[in-house]
Symmetry: C2
Subunit: 146 residues, 2 copies
DNA sequence: CAGGATCCCGCTAGATACTG
DNA sequence: CAGTATCTAGCGGGATCCTG
């Protein structure tokens, strides 16, 4: 095949790239944290509604059912929600509790580790809320000059 | 058309979804921060090498040239690097300085706003480094039971 | 040297339908 | 209720070529 060379070069490049990433495990953690939905799930289970960033410290971490989470986050597909929850469970950030009632009941809850991460995320969210206006002002100013 | 109904429902759903996202600007900030390369660029310009998370506090924020950044991050394509830098500049997180020498010289540097974000990111990175082992242990244990 | 333009692949997220 | 399975489109992101 004529494209073999190109394909192989690509594959090799890919391997090198992945290897580079693999040497620094913090990248993987960063990737996990940076996930689009992880932050939202964390906020939901942590008791801070991302859409209501005013009085969020009132309610502490709590267990939530699957459908509760789905409603709270509102915009996530059940596929992504399940996927995110599974990943978080795998990393020991949430616990999944199945209660074998007639229609099965499943609860999700933050672990201690998950709660500690939630605190850090809160700070990040705090920064975002505090500096939102400035960022948007900069953005508008920049776009206006374009 | 027979599919109009379905298509319209989709379009409407899409609008609702976007509207929901739009009402909470913190989501947009979160998205910006969650970007794959933003964190790395921030770390690079902030003086903390993501691959060397041990003694990072020694060097403070500094200006870097485009090619310097490209080498430091090593794995980013110039497209993504440029794209990321432009986005950060737009949001007022970095400043881009062009020095019209014979081969043009361009420096990138954190703004005050960028530095403040960098501090928060550092905490996040700190959490990741501190809890990496526990997360990976959980992950292995979970995979083992599978 | 810094970056714009273009092409194109792969993966991921979302929609839909089915199950225990 | 709480998922699983499958299909597909869209786009993130890389390679390549070109410019000032």
């Amino acid at each position: 095949m004529a494209t073999t060379t190109a394909a192989q070069r690509r594959a090799q490049a890919r391997v090198d790239y992945d290897a580079f990433l693999a040497v620094c495990p913090s990248r993987q953690l960063l990737a996990r944290i940076s996930d689009k939905w992880v932050g939202l799930v964390l906020c939901a289970l942590g008791g801070s509604d991302p859409t209501m960033h005013a009085a969020e410290a009132v309610e502490g971490p709590r267990a939530m059912r699957y459908s509760e989470l789905a409603r709270r986050i509102a915009g996530v597909s059940q596929k992504m929600l399940t996927q995110t929850l599974r990943a978080l469970e795998r990393d020991g950030l949430v616990v999944r509790t199945v209660t074998p009632t007639v229609p099965v009941t499943v609860h999700y809850e933050l672990t201690d580790l998950g709660r500690s991460l939630h605190l850090v995320m809160r700070d990040l969210k705090g920064w975002a809320e505090a500096n939102m206006e400035e960022v948007f002002a900069n953005r508008d100013a920049h776009d206006a000059r374009a």
